[in-house]
């Protein structure tokens, strides 16, 4: 594995954390960047979710793919990663890539050019996206890290996954604040969903049972300007 000593300071509003000994930057926009690896990972893009619902008569605005790609473009411009891993459910369904508007396809191909791009297979998109470059993999191991879509039931140190769309909720001064978040316990990390139309599921939900060490679970909640690291004791279900 090539180690590139590029900029290692987190950008404004990002937090530097350790996962299985690797240093990572939690960006408030919902991506994770490993500076030593020049590796950017993003999860659950759910591209073409709008058109996927439109097929069934729910005609929500067809701008989600464009909006998601614009945000991704900004992140990639900031970090200039050598490697990008899209952690699964990159498209909302198997036909998503084929339905994509030509202007969006061009934008995506522009982002992919000049870097290694991995499509991790997800439950929504188990197969390689139609007519797009990049390598489709079940999972990917890089150094001490393992990248896969669904978190495995047994604890794996250094696992980076998505699928669950974590969010966290706190109550302060009688008001409730819910935000997407990274959920990690120092050993494994579950990424927030990045797509414009993706909802989220509270990290205290049963779906996460047994995935984390309770004592060290932290939610890195996405704020408008920065990441907020909140420990489990402050979190509320629902």
């Amino acid at each position: 594995m090539t180690r590139v000593l590029a900029t290692t300071l987190p950008l404004a509003g990002a937090d530097s954390i350790g996962i299985a000994g690797e240093r990572a930057i939690c960006d408030r926009r919902g991506v994770l960047y490993f500076p030593e690896l020049r590796l950017l990972t993003v999860s659950d893009l759910h591209l073409e979710k709008g058109s996927s619902l439109a097929r069934r008569g729910t005609l929500i605005p067809p701008y989600d793919t464009g909006a998601t790609l614009l945000r991704l473009q900004a992140v990639i411009a900031d970090y200039q990663p050598a490697i990008v891993i899209s952690l699964g459910d990159s498209f909302h369904d198997g036909g998503g890539a084929a339905r994509m508007h030509s202007s969006f396809r061009e934008r995506l191909e522009g982002l992919m050019a000049g870097r290694d791009w991995f499509w991790v297979a997800g439950n929504h998109d188990p197969d390689a996206p139609a007519d797009l470059p990049g390598e489709t993999v079940r999972e990917l191991a890089i150094g001490a890290l393992v990248f896969r879509h669904e978190p495995s039931a047994v604890r794996v140190e250094g696992e980076i996954s998505g699928h669950l769309h974590p969010c966290a909720r706190i109550v302060q001064q009688g008001r409730s604040v819910r935000r997407r978040c990274f959920a990690g316990d120092g050993g494994r990390m579950i990424m927030p969903a990045f797509g414009a139309y993706t909802g989220s599921l509270n990290v205290l939900d049963r779906a996460y049972a047994g995935l984390f060490r309770r004592e060290t679970l932290m939610a890195y909640m996405l704020g408008a300007e920065r990441i907020f690291a909140i420990s489990r004791s402050m979190l509320r279900p629902g």
Binding site: A54, G57, I60, P61, H101, R175, R179, S200, I230
Partner: protein, 840 residues
Amino acid sequence: MTEQPRLAEQNAAVHLPEPFLKWFAEKGWSPRAHQIELLAIAQAGQSVLLIAPTGAGKTLAGFLPSLTELAGRPRRRPGQARRGIHTLYISPLKALAVDIERNLGKPVEEIGLPVTIETRTGDTPAHKRQRQKLTPPDILLTTPEQLALLIAAPDAGRFFEDLHYVVLDELHSLVTSKRGHLLSLGLARLRSFVPGLQTIGLSATVAEPDELRRWLVSQNPPGGMAELIVVTGGAKPEISILDSEERVPWAGHSARYATPEIYGEIKRHKTTLLFVNTRSQAELLFQELWRVNEDTLPIALHHGSLDVAQRRRVEKAMGENTLRAIVATSTLDLGIDWGDVDLVVHVGAPKGASRLAQRIGRANHRMDEPSKAILIPANRFEVLECRAALDANYLGAQDTPPLVNGGLDVLAQHVLGCACGAPFLADTLFEEVRTAAPYTSLDRPTFDRVIDFVATGGYALKNYERYARIRLNKDGLWRVSNPRIAQQYRLNVGTIIEVPALNVRYVQAGSKGSASRGGRVLGKIEEAFLETLTHGDTFMFAGKVLRFEGIRENECFVSNAPGSDAKVPYYGGGKFPLSTYLAEQVRIMLDDPQRWKKLPEQVADWLRFQADKSVLPKRDDLLIETFPRGNRHYLVAYPFEGRLAHQTLGMLLTRRLDRAGARPLGFVATDYALAIWSLADMGRMFRAKKPSLAALFDQDMLGDDLEAWLAGSWLLKRTFRNCALISGLIEKRHPGQEKSGRQVIVSTDLIYDVLRSHEPDHILLQATRADAATGLLDVSRLAEMLSRIQGRIVHKHLEQISPLAVPIMLEIGKMPVHGEADDTLLMDAATLVEEAMGTQ
């Protein structure tokens, strides 16, 4: 009052069949003048609006034309084609339809009429609905939503071909909402099926009867009106304001101080109906009454969040006259008959003179006996408001809201419904829609955009052509593209959007709901409130103090709390804002010391004290006080324009003050006043004219500032959600679907964000902004106020808080401070974590 000569004239022309005359005679009654007059108008083929107080025999009047016509109809011979519905009755409440079925059934049976009457509501079983389609009753009693469903059925035209009359009950309450818009479009459709269709509107007194008269008939030609009958009078109600021995509090909404006196009144009367404005007030009053209920009188609680079975039990007990008192919110507002109420107690200010008149109408449901009512102001400003409302009721003043233009989201729903019924020509439907009063000013380009929206979402990016819900065929007709669309439509019809709510279920204390699931369901509470609770918190609901145990899926688990004090107050914040009319009355009263004589001594003293320490605003002036307190500087304004307008004003002023360098920290708004606090000395800034108050309150704040603030506001997101659901952009959640989890449903907030940044002029955003401006923000009222006070701002810079400012200052800390700065809360939490973990 109806004029006698005209009545006599019509009496001669009217045809009241023999069996009816006999029935009236047997009962020892004679038909009332307005009943005969209405019959004459209907028999002359005209539509009519009947405005009458409760107890005037409105229902019978409304049905007489149908009943007399049906009585004279020859019997159907075997083999003859079945006859369709003759009369459609539409009411805003399911319960009202059921009630009418009972009340109408009696005379029909006694007169011996061969008339079938049936209800059709959301509760009607599918097999009965199916049967009604095949063999319809003569009179169908139903709701606006059911009408929408009926006209979206493929055979709608045939189903309604025999229709003569549509009777619209409680019309005044129907027309002001989106339900009214949908209903007006439904009526337009019915008129196209049956051109000679007659409507009969029944209404309580309203400010502008002509608006309703136009609403009832086709607006082609424009300006057409139904005939009008007004029944005035009835005995004047005896209304008083409780002159309490106790001290009337400065602020708050509980009226707890008056509990023993209210209890005394309950003991002195047979049945007392106690009205409050919000559910939380109802819960609190109920608790307080039972605390002093030494005689264990049967006192019950009734509000819309309680479990249906529980509500039905209370209603039944009420009908059987076994209750001595019932604490209720607006669920009982409309004209349902409930036993022998001889006293109405109104706790808290009624917020509108018309609402007060409606509620007082509940007592002594006979027109010729006076109703008796007592108003209980919860705080000092409410004393002024009650006094104003009382004077208004005696004057017969009306302040029902003016009608607004029909919503485009509702129109979208209707267009899809029409397509589900039968293919349509855009030209024809456009003309039809414009015959409905709320849509007369609709222009063709907007209509075409609505059709485009229904078809493909109406987006600038033409990506969904292949998924179109309706398609334009070669013959120029729009058709639904597949039968599944019609199915979807049926599940989503209507304009009532339920706030996400969870069932409240009993479990054993400490069980967190995991083990026992057998407890009773007490009702439903909004998710937003439950989200602020933590395990062990106590709150009031269903007349009990409950302990919050936890949330599991779509249920909230609670147990009985050991003590009797609820820790977490539920802030329902007066549901209705103060009406413009009452606000003006209050300002006039403040300006006229002569009228203070009618106020309780302690309240009059309070005003005198204010005149002494500061000043009382003249009726058209805006008083602004500034004073320091603690290490903050306060600005208190007294526009008396209602909470919504004040909230909007507060948002806009804080933006401007921030720009001017005043460093504002927050604000609270009540119906009467607005308080803003800041770090800088605003009083000094105003005196140095940096900025001047005139500039600060300039009308231009409704331009860019409003736009900028609105764009990211949660208020607009909430409004967008309603528009998205009503227009059919997304589907409503149905019972049983909740479990599918958050990650499956696309939240309307996310859709809003995406749409706003990519197509800010989309028709649904246009509809959202229009809605927010009239509803949540009360922009028009704010605009009127800002223009009224130009050159009339009175600034008092004080050393300390004034008597008039005390009530709103007491609200600070009790009311949620509105703002968008959720990140500050996150910051607080993150800092706590950092402190605790010693990383700082």
